[in-house]
Symmetry: C2
Subunit: 309 residues, 2 copies
């Protein structure tokens, strides 16, 4: 293979993955392990890094390494202070935290403040930088991005810089309700079955008055009166929580009119999850485009390019 | 003691309690056991009933018994069909489900329908009947009641009949978030500390745009930036979820103007929980009055009186 220009590492809460990248972001080799923040003992980060990436580092001495994600949190390798918004690729690059000077650095997370309350991200800033690069939107006037997941992020970018964002606990609440609440009793064991009309019904219900806490009880009563089967109920619940996120977000932080005037909303995440968000956003007539996990590699490559440039 | 007129039983999901009542609802003796639906094997209800209340039944042969709560659910002793709204004490009394004809009966739950979705209660209907009796509101034109708890109920009564109600999963969501979510990591082990200004801050935040799923993340960021201590964070979270219930309910099913025109809202529940709801409702300038668990005994006594009368 051609010589790598960067060792890119995405080190999160439950897993780590790394890639050898060419200068243009092309992936030359990849490596993944179930070795995230939760499984690394205090003081064990350098050893874990050597164990996972020692061979690559020996094969390419002097290769720079950039890391994004929870590796930079308070419980991580070294705490990388949050970079305040607005911030773009150049801001992130100048505020890298060097673990091994000139060789290994952590990308800082971002912080923002809205209505007297802070919000934070770690890792998503790199995905956003990568997405803008990949889609040729690094200089676009207005781009809105959604990174669905455990803690879903809505990100506004103006002229290449992240100006603000909002986190929603959607994925985590769904998992708790799905597995641990009274609603779990009538739901199937897994999310294998996809019932789009039940999902749509949940999204539509979320747009009605009454509030999420009330709408959730309908998962139970629809089961009680046999009006929706188990697979449908799980998709209905998913529609309720994703729909609530969209309803609240489009009514508050990111007015629908503003979204409609910008580029199609960029969704970054797993295929299954972005498909659900794409479907739900279509209920608001919001056009979307989708990217996967490759955004992180392009983001780290772009930050490395900023360093070289 | 004077001769009892009724054996009243409140048989719920996790516990059972019973009382010997005089004809006017005065409690002559009480008995409680941690023996609810979850701990009774299929077919074991009659045995459990005899074990807990056999001595009283032997001492007062012929004493009628009325039971309310999950004992009438599909997983209960016998399923008592939901009585559709509108329904008052007379409707409940004529639709009692007799387990032992003329001697032991289960009070039916209630069902209602709103926007194509069913809602149900079991046990709360009896508390409402008792509360109206206790407060001299059995004929009042308009009374609104809130029964906070795992599944909080908002009940509208017009001229003595329950015309509708709405359930909110507030208590259950609070417990899940409090104990099982990422937020739990920065919360104290128990809810012993009461920080009213943190609770108020949560209620106020719930009234801001952004949505519950977004507001929840501020529990984490306020901890991350050391802006609220652990005890305060738990009360803030409580304020966020209770505030969301009130915000949604007062905006949708029970418009604030309608509440203001009626009797003070009747809160029925534990002292600690009704105090929180009283405080939160005060943020909307909604006057309240509070009742405790005695409402169930007065409700069952009133239903027994309807039978006699």
């Amino acid at each position: 293979m051609s010589d790598p220009a960067l060792l890119a590492v995405d080190w999160g809460t439950t897993a780590l993955r790394g890639a050898l990248l060419a200068a243009d972001g092309t992936v030359l080799a990849e490596h993944a392990a179930p070795r995230g923040l939760l499984s690394i003992p205090p003081g064990g980060w350098a050893d874990a890094f050597d164990a996972e990436f020692g061979a690559w580092r020996a094969a390419y001495p002097g290769l720079p390494c950039l890391m994004a994600g929870m590796v930079g949190s308070r419980q991580g390798w070294v705490e990388a202070a949050y970079c305040p918004c607005p911030a773009g690729a150049a801001d992130l690059a100048t505020q890298l935290l060097w673990v091994q000077p000139g060789r290994v650095a952590i990308v800082p997370g971002l912080s923002t403040e809205q209505g007297g309350l802070p919000d934070v991200m770690r890792g998503e800033e790199t995905q956003v930088v990568g997405a803008l690069q990949l889609l040729g939107l690094a200089e676009a006037e207005s781009v809105n991005l959604v990174l669905p997941g455990t803690h879903s992020k809505w990100v506004t970018v103006r002229s290449g810089r992240i100006t603000g964002f909002a986190t929603h606990l959607t994925g985590e609440c769904y998992a708790l309700l799905r597995q641990q609440s009274i609603l779990a009793r009538t739901l199937p064991a897994d999310d294998a079955a996809w019932v789009p009309e039940a999902f749509d019904r949940g999204v539509a219900q979320a747009r009605q008055p009454g509030g999420l806490l009330h709408h959730l009880f309908s998962v139970r009563t629809l089961a009680l009166f046999d009006r929706l089967d188990a697979a449908g109920l799980a998709c209905y619940l998913s529609g309720l929580v994703i729909g609530e996120e969209l309803r609240a977000q489009l009514a508050a932080h990111l007015p629908l009119a503003e979204v409609a005037a910008a580029q199609p909303v960029v969704l970054i995440g797993s295929a299954a999850l972005t498909a659900r968000y794409q479907r739900a956003l279509a209920a608001w007539s919001v056009p979307t485009q989708v990217l996967g996990a490759e955004a992180t590699w392009f983001g780290l490559a772009a930050l490395a390019g900023t360093l070289r440039g």
